[in-house]
Symmetry: C2
DNA sequence: AGTGGATTGGGGTATTTACCCCAACCCTGT
DNA sequence: ACAGGGTTGGGGTAAATACCCCAATCCACT
């Protein structure tokens, strides 16, 4: 049996190395490369063509989902496993949209990660229990269940764009300038975002955006 | 030579186990226990009396500094090493006040952690370069340098209290009600906080409070 | 062809914020 | 005894926010 070739992506050298050593306990795994951010992960991935990419998401925004999507478009066969300490619906949804084969909590023991790797390498999926209860399968692809969608009420692209500016403390006038729109339009988007999220002031909005990983604190 | 007995505290099972395996590469280290949060760490520490405690700080507020302080008061000889992916002045200051012997960034390679462990076990200290530039030594104990203190300007108790409410999105009127004070007083505190921190809107204030661990996102 | 959602924008208003001024009071340290 | 910092509050103003109303455009879906 051939080894499952693994690429690790995590911005913490300590965690990265530690995971690599851990996975070396399984003879069927071979960690062929590591990268310290999603961008580097993309480059290394196309170069090494691993079977499975284990990608840590937590800190620096949503670029990892972006990178994952681009990786999948170039290497259709690669399986992506997301590791996270947060289980926000937005993360889960983005991961699923990016074509993740697995999503698991960092709190799980290494055995679970090993199982997930074997599972996805064989063409399957793995999702932690808390996540499985929030997603639905359809034609072999997964998406957020409606219940969860209601919780992470679906914001449109434009709304999310405005939300990110709002949550960084820009005034509506400033945002209007940046987006080449009327302040009144920003006002409209802002009001609809607040309505959808049932949030009624900017501070709560900012905290929401931080929790959902839309911006850093 | 006797082994250095180590206790690992990290809320991610994956990271915890991975670190343990990593440290097993050094014969002079013995990981005698692990805990998944600061509270459990306190209990395990008094039970096992390790030489060194490696404690991860990132997520759940400031309890770890609290726990660290209590551990130090019960086991004066134990050395505490903090791991963090953030280098906020408030964290550093809290860690130093709690009696940390080392503080290092998670981005460092495992060798650096090993070095730090050896160093503190021998009675020394270890701080990453970025940190060493921000702290000063005095009579064997360390504290934040004035420059850094200027950046994390010293807020009074009352100011911090008001800041925490402000950062949670309460209006000044609501805060005044909660604290049995005039809205004008809250206004005064708020203005002084913004002045000291050189922050000019509530959203930035909230993000500051979240970064500093004063509130959760 | 027509419905609906997304995007864009305007009018108006009440509340809240940020910022300026000022001044008591109390407590602590010299 | 006196200075200085912390805490408490007031008056006033300009800006920003939250929230209500409404409507034109455009694009996709059936």
């Amino acid at each position: 049996m051939e080894a499952i070739r693994i690429l690790l992506v995590d911005d913490h050298a300590l965690v990265r190395e530690a995971l690599a050593v851990q996975l070396a306990n399984w003879v069927e795994f071979e960690v062929v490369g590591m990268a310290e951010d999603a961008g580097a992960g993309l480059n290394v991935a196309v170069e090494l063509k691993p079977d499975v990419i284990v990608m840590d998401i937590d800190m620096p925004g949503i670029i990892c989902f972006d990178a994952a999507e681009r990786i999948k478009s170039r290497l259709a066969d690669v399986k992506i496993i997301f590791l996270s300490s947060a289980l926000h619906d937005h993360y889960i949804e983005s991961a699923l949209k990016a074509g993740a084969s697995a999503y698991l909590h960092k709190g799980e023991p290494t055995e679970t990660l090993a199982m997930a790797i074997r599972e996805v390498a064989a063409g399957g999926n793995y999702f932690s229990d808390e996540i499985r209860s929030r997603i639905v399968e359809k034609d072999g692809s997964y998406s957020l269940a409606d219940g969860a969608k209601l919780r992470s009420k679906i914001l449109t692209d434009r709304e999310i764009e405005v939300l990110r500016y709002l949550a960084r403390g820009l005034t509506k006038k400033e945002i209007a300038g940046l987006m080449h729109l009327s302040p009144k339009t920003i006002e409209s988007h802002s009001a609809r975002v607040m309505d959808k999220l049932d949030i009624h002031d900017r501070v709560e909005l900012a905290r929401y955006a931080i929790r959902e990983g839309l911006i850093d604190a």
